[in-house]
Amino acid sequence: MTNKKSRTEENNFKVKFLPFETIVEVPPGTSLLDAVKTASLPLKTTCGGKGTCGDCVIQIIEGTYHSKPSAALSDKLASRGFSLACQTEVKDNITVQLPQFRELDIKSIVDSKFFKEQRDNISGVYELNPSVKKIELLLSPPTLEDNYSDLRRIERQLQKELALKKIDCEYSVLKKLAQTVRKNKGKISIFLSLSGKQATVIDVAPQSEGKKLYGIACDVGTTTVALHLVDLQNEKILATASSLNQQIACGEDIISRINFAQKPGRLKKLQELIILTLNNLIKKASKSAKVSISDIYLASVSGNTTMIHLLLNLEPRYIREEPYVPTFNQVPTILSRDLGLKMNNEGRIYCSPAVGSYVGGDITAGLLCTPILRDSKKVALFIDAGTNGELVVGNKEWLMTCACSAGPAFEGSGIKCGMPASEGAIEEIKMLDSGEFKYKVINGTKPQGLCGSGLVDLLAELFTFGYIDRHGKFNEKKAGKKIVKTEEGKGFLIEEGKNCYWGKDLIVTENDISNLIRTKAAVFSACSVLLKNVGLGFDKIDSVYIGGGFGQHLNINNTIRIGLLPDLKREKFHYLGNSSLLGAYLILLSDKNKDLANEIAEKMTYIELNTEPTYMNEFTGALFLPHTDIKLFPSVKQTLNL
């Protein structure tokens, strides 16, 4: 719990914020916006609390409150318990849901078309051979002749069946062993954690209890966290859950988090927040799959180097300081009880190996899902466009990688009209010749904002139809009434408020567009620098694999039109979706993938862009639609007649 200590005064009210379960006490009449600030939780506000921007909308779950009416909040929403934090005074003990943190509904990656078609051609192996196994044994009852100890008898049988060299046993197992083997006539389930020819018995239960073997695969992103609950006896994904990383309250990007961790107690707080995020997701997933948390024995986690440091409560500051050395590349297997993760007490946690400070296990895991290691001649490019963009180029013989701070724009963060790929997000948008938009919303509800794929489409359409120039500035003559004034400067109207979920106009501002252009420029320029370093032209790339939190569908044509991805033949591109999660899933399923991930990590050569003299030049070149050097985008030049 992260309860903020405050003086307890008699008249104070308690405000509880979900999903953090943070409680603060504030004097009567305090605005909810101030209460949020007191709790040091994030809540966007553009107007600074004047009640005009409508950004600080929250939902009151419990308790009475008084809220001033505001034009920025429709009556319909108000009647459903929504309210503007800055216009609401605390008059009671209340419970408030911070809307940015609603659990996301991210579709399972088994939907990934690429994975479905290519899973036998990828660098990882697709097989069921997890490092925790459930073994059913029938122990012959002890006799005076066969008077070996319970444990020895188990060992003996396991050795026979599994050809193991050495078997250890956890203390907790020992404690219940005697009763367990006798409960069900020697019919027992053994849970073994395997490492080569060695094994550790981590749990034992009578078969009659019907204990199952489940695992979780998680992607711990800087902005979003997603996990799969998997049946490790048949590789089935039973449930998927995702949400924003609650650490976001402590900074949007990696550097801010590392900064935040520098004060006493803060590193611990960051760890608590990520564990809280994960535990909420595990709870949710196991509830929906009707799975007992104590049946979850294995977790495979992939995340960037900083996220894993924070998860493990390791000092992250040396990641960002020259010469950028992390604490680890390969993490030893960790016990769930050491982290406080909601799974079996003896559960094992495996983190995929990192290459360095800025290329983490999310990338090595992600590469497992691509065929990059299958060929030693063809050259593949892998791009993971998350908050931190990471790129890898190479093949079986060599791999080069670099990272750029792209920013969270394509994950829907830092953009006024942006949101993660969850219910209510516009995931596809097209402009009609009439200038009207036609769009598709996840789960078909009224739109709340745009997720990454929608933002890519939007930028491409505005550009294609000439509503913005190549610099990303509005063509006011052409756009006419569609240009509206907002608190953040000029904006372009996407959808009128009456058709939107929040009841207010959905607008993309010129600032948002600059942000998107900066983000795409960071990714593209990192790509150019990486290739130039190796001495390859874009034309030498045989295939491109894209991961990241864009959403379900990414319109490749549009990513090229805005200059996010290089202008290559469209069939060379493959969108993987959340490749970090998919990689974690592969590692969860098979122990062999751990070795493969390690092999990938060791093969990679990392380029530090900060010390790359040409990066700045490549970056400013990419700060244009699609690029300053139009020769790099021949197909866009031709279509748009540039």
Partner: protein, 445 residues
């Protein structure tokens, strides 16, 4: 053709053994391509690799040394434009000593020049060479001048004397200090004899490309390789074109006869004219220029230009971390802080000045990185800035207790306030160009 990292990688063992102290063969290949490593560091390199990479790394322009302990090194350049990589060996500036000037005058001149040392951006700058011209035609004058220069200065010496016997004695006096000799006439067998198996460099003078090539060939064939080229012309336009052609022939065509550093004695009508000519030739490929006159202001200007042109464009240039006054600040004037990346400093100081206000600009030590880069690397954060401000005792210099930080690093404001008790941190604008409007909209003191 320079080989790319990937080309070189194909020649390496691909074992990622790490014996070269680089984690992967690819990383090593890239270091080789950037000439940051040497193939000999790989104990497993194949013969093929050695041959291929050896051929690719021979310098197209010879390195020539003039002087004793602190010898000037010139040549060994690899590019036509500094942005392609860098210019390695800054132009040597020689000051002329005429033997007719008289011993007394010469001695004080030598001492003054020897003592002239000016600092700029942390670098000590001084003249590199003496150019002794024998204009009095008297043997004693010449030898005396040589001795004076040698005994009172450690600078390298170039001799200009048409009498071969006198020259021989002069060279004798300069044994072990790598002197250079300007030959104004065509290279003779005697000249070659004089310099064979010695540390003397010859500056060959010619009026045409063919003549020059003929002479360098002759010298090379006799094993004389320390050469410097002087393709004479009075017109600055021709001089610049000659220099471009000679450099291009050496670098792009591997034309060996021109693979040497270039020399010019500046003939000028006036000081301003001299400076104008020297500036142009310093930028465009002269390795040695001789100034007939000693003028501190001219030297300081040329040294600054040389520093600018010969810095490595791939390395950020740093300015001294300290407090810079913008305009005429009083202790009550506002305080801004930024990093010591030179371009950042120039732009920020320019824009503050542009805004019409006077201010103190605190340039913190961020190892020459720009604001965001330094922040990401932990070099421009609350703790480091506060420490810097305490170290320079800013509180004793200014009365203001508000400090403006770059808008790009608004995140550090809380930390900085925590580390700087008594100060209020104001988050500035993100772009320097917005400073003029920013200073109007916010109360800075």
């Amino acid at each position: 053709m320079a080989l790319s990292g990937l080309d070189i990688f194909k020649l390496l063992p691909k074992t990622n053994c790490g014996d070269c102290n680089v984690p992967t063969c690819m990383a090593f290949a890239m270091k080789l391509a950037q000439k940051k490593a040497d193939l000999s560091e790989c104990p497993h390199a194949s013969e093929e690799a050695k041959v291929t990479l050896g051929a690719a790394s021979e310098p197209p322009i010879r390195l020539v040394k003039i002087g004793g302990t602190n010898a000037l090194e010139v040549g060994n350049e690899t590019v036509m434009f500094r942005h392609e990589k860098t210019f390695f060996h800054p132009t040597g500036v020689a000051i002329e000593l005429r033997t007719s000037e008289g011993e007394e005058k010469l001695l004080s001149k030598i001492k003054e020049i020897e003592g002239y040392n000016v600092e700029r951006v942390g670098e000590e700058l001084s003249a590199d060479l003496f150019f002794i011209s024998h204009d009095s035609k008297n043997k004693e004058d010449f030898l005396k001048t040589v001795v004076l220069a040698k005994e009172n200065s450690a600078k390298g010496i170039i001799l200009d004397c048409s009498d071969e016997e006198i020259l021989r004695e002069g060279i004798e006096l300069l044994k072990d200090t790598c002197p250079a000799v300007l030959l104004k006439n065509e290279l003779s067998d005697k000249n070659i004899e004089l310099t064979q198996n010695s540390d003397v460099s010859l500056i060959l003078t010619a009026k045409s490309y063919d003549d020059l090539a003929k002479q360098t060939e002759k010298a090379r064939n006799s094993g004389v390789n320390n050469l410097i080229l002087n393709l004479e012309n009075q017109n600055i336009g021709n001089q610049l074109q000659h220099n471009a052609i000679l450099r291009r022939s050496a670098l792009k065509k591997y034309f060996k006869p021109f693979g040497y550093p270039l020399f010019t004695y500046i003939h000028a009508e006036s000081e301003l004219d001299m400076l104008a000519r020297a500036s142009a030739l310093l930028c465009k490929y002269d390795s040695i220029i001789v100034l007939p006159k000693y003028d501190k202001a001219m030297l300081y200007t040329l040294f600054t230009l040389r520093q600018n042109i010969y810095t490595d464009p791939q390395k950020p240039i740093q300015v001294d971390p300290k407090v810079y006054p913008i305009g005429e600040p009083t202790p009550e004037s506002p305080v801004f802080v930024t990093t010591n990346f030179s371009l950042t400093y120039f732009i920020v100081s320019g824009e503050i000045e542009n805004s019409g206000i006077s201010a103190h600009l605190v340039v913190a030590d961020a190892e020459g990185q720009s604001v965001l880069t330094a922040w990401a690397a932990g070099k421009f954060v609350g703790e480091t800035i506060a420490k810097f401000i305490k170290d320079i005792k800013l509180e004793q210099q200014v009365k203001t207790r508000k400090i403006v930080i770059p808008g790009l690093v608004s995140q550090i404001s809380g930390d900085l306030e925590d580390n700087l008790p008594g100060w209020e941190v104001i988050v500035g604008c993100q772009e320097a160009s917005d400073i003029p409007s920013f200073v109007k909209s916010v109360k800075l003191t």
